[in-house]
Amino acid sequence: MQEILSFIYVHKEAIFIIALSILLGIEVISHVPAILHTPLMSGANAIHGVVIIGAIIVMGHADTTASLTLGFLAVVLGTLNVVGGFVVTDRMLEMFKKKK
């Protein structure tokens, strides 16, 4: 219990940021029409590709060959998520645009 409370105190800003982000996520999504569910899922999928930042940091400070290799893999996978995610979403949304 003590540990959890101290944890909260030390990370208070991060916890606030988390709470606010959760509320924002809910707020922003809650009125989306059903036909946009799939592109939205795909777009959100691309955004969590932000994990690539972590992969870059890990790889950028890797000191052994093993960790460099794993880091390399992480960056490749993260990039896949980002690039694939955004491109696929764009393709889907292109289908929805009004044709003249």
């Binding site: 029409p33 880091g71 990039t79």
Partner: protein
């Protein structure tokens, strides 16, 4: 204190802030049809800014990012592969692709945790044991990331029809056991005190293994048709895993971006379930799903219609509404459907499509399908709109749809789909239903529409039936 901060770090924080705001705005715009595409581009811009500036400005204990050449190589490889796949793949294979990319993100998060585990600060561990924010973030990132990776791969396989839907009742027990095991093991790791990290590094691998297996067993028993919901759920998992990385590196853009996707993804999952009038639990535990050919137990009169009669009926109508469904996608008959619609249009018939939000197997499935066949956007109407005008419609052509035109949703409170909004085709003057036989739809329930007085069945694969219908109309 203030003067000693390198400019680069401050710029980086500013960029992270901007990127986070772009993510939020992007997501917001993504949820409105007119602005959706711009929204996606906004988030992408935020991402690119964040990546470039991390490489340029990030410092850890005063050290800048090293191995930049290799990093750029890795990014190039990832970009090349990701772009190629994303551009090449057929529109109808989109859901599995989303699942695949989602898995990649999960794997990256798990890898980061795996590498950070043995690098934890020994001083910190000496002081607090393993029970500290750092360790918790690492372990959560590892577990959630690998579950998301493994689960997404299975979902991918199911949607690509490489993995079937085994009916495994005992899986529920297996799953609960696994979940409990992972939980217990995590608590075990966290309660370690006075240990050397080298002595427990193997535990991270065990946890990784357990989580991967759980990811598989979690998704395997869920029906293929429910995969969109599962992917959306795993999507929010990966978001949370990414946020753990943000916690680890005190990196706000990862934190905001990850959590944002985590919460938006969860809401989206719930909305998707709602659109099908089911609960998330029901989807995960799997009360129905998978569909299949049902036995016809109803004693009623099925009235068939010949292709030539159907052609005449359609050609001499004023208002025709087409209701496409999953069968149209299976038969890949969207181009033929468009052709027929054009021909009728030339004959002066007013043809519209009634798009039900959950027709097909992913939200917006019909929009994507018909857009692929170049059906003009203004021919598509939401089912609610069409419903109002239904009594004035001469003929409704139901092509491979079943559940979304089931009157039970309106008049049978005991039906599992009761309350789901449907296209009320039975209110039109005539209904032609094109399907192969008396097979049931996704919800695996009977559809009394087929026995109505004003309903005529046109049996056969949608593609072939449409082909015949078209040549018939042409020859009129």
């Amino acid at each position: 204190m203030l003067q000693n901060i390198p400019t680069g770090l401050s710029v980086l924080e500013l960029i992270y802030l901007i990127a986070s705001v772009l993510f939020i705005l992007g997501l917001k715009k993504l949820s409105h049809p007119e602005t959706a595409r711009r929204g996606n581009i906004l988030s992408a811009a935020g991402m690119i800014m964040a990546i470039i500036c991390t490489i340029l400005f990030h410092k850890k204990d005063g050290q800048p990012i090293g191995h930049i050449g290799l990093i750029l190589l890795a990014i190039s490889i990832g970009t090349f592969i990701g772009w190629t796949i994303a551009v090449k793949v057929k529109m109808t294979a989109m859901p599995q692709l989303v699942s695949f990319f989602n898995g990649m993100g999960g794997a990256a998060a798990a890898l980061i945790s795996l590498m950070e585990f043995p690098r934890m600060n020994p001083d910190l561990i000496a002081r607090t044991g393993m029970m500290n924010g750092h360790a918790i973030a690492i372990l959560l990132g590892l577990i959630i990331g690998s579950v998301s990776f493994a689960g997404s791969m299975i979902a991918f396989g199911k949607l690509a029809e490489k993995i079937g839907d085994p009916k495994l009742k005992f899986m529920r027990v297996v799953n609960l056991t696994f979940m409990a095991g992972i939980l217990a093991f995590t608590v075990f790791i966290l309660t370690q005190k006075n240990i050397h990290l080298e002595n427990i590094s193997w535990m991270a691998y065990v946890l990784l293994g357990l989580s991967l297996i759980y990811g598989v067993t979690f998704v395997i028993p869920i029906g293929g048709a429910d995969m969109p919901v599962v992917i959306s759920l795993l999507n929010s998992f990966t978001g949370v895993a990414a946020a753990m990385g943000g916690f680890l590196y005190d990196n706000q853009v990862m934190l905001t971006g990850g959590i944002l996707v985590g919460s938006a993804g969860t809401i989206l999952t719930i909305l998707m379930c709602k659109a099908m009038n089911r609960s998330l639990l029901n989807v995960l535990v799997g009360a129905f799903g998978g569909g299949g050919a049902g036995l016809d137990k109803v004693a009623g009169n099925i009235k068939e219609i010949s292709v030539s009669d159907a052609a005449v009926l359609l050609s001499y109508s004023q208002k025709v509404v087409i209701v496409p469904g999953y069968g149209l996608a299976v038969a890949q008959a969207q181009h033929l459907c468009h052709e027929m619609e054009k021909m009728l249009d030339e004959k002066g018939v007013n043809v519209r499509y009634a798009i039900h939000p959950v027709a097909g197997r992913m939200p917006g499935h019909m929009n994507v399908l018909l857009a692929e066949a170049d059906v003009p956007y203004d021919r598509l109407s939401e089912s609610d709109e069409i419903n109002e005008d239904m009594p004035n419609v001469d003929v409704v052509v139901v092509i491979g749809a079943n559940d979304v035109v089931n009157p039970a949703a309106v008049d049978d409170p005991s039906s599992p789909i009761y309350g789901m909004p449907v296209v009320r085709v039975w209110e039109a003057k005539n209904v032609i239903v094109m399907k192969r036989g008396m097979g049931k739809g996704y919800a695996a329930i009977e559809n009394f529409l087929f026995y109505n007085d004003n309903t005529r069945m046109l049996f056969g694969n949608a593609k072939e039936s449409l082909q015949k219908l078209i040549s018939e109309i042409k020859s009129l």
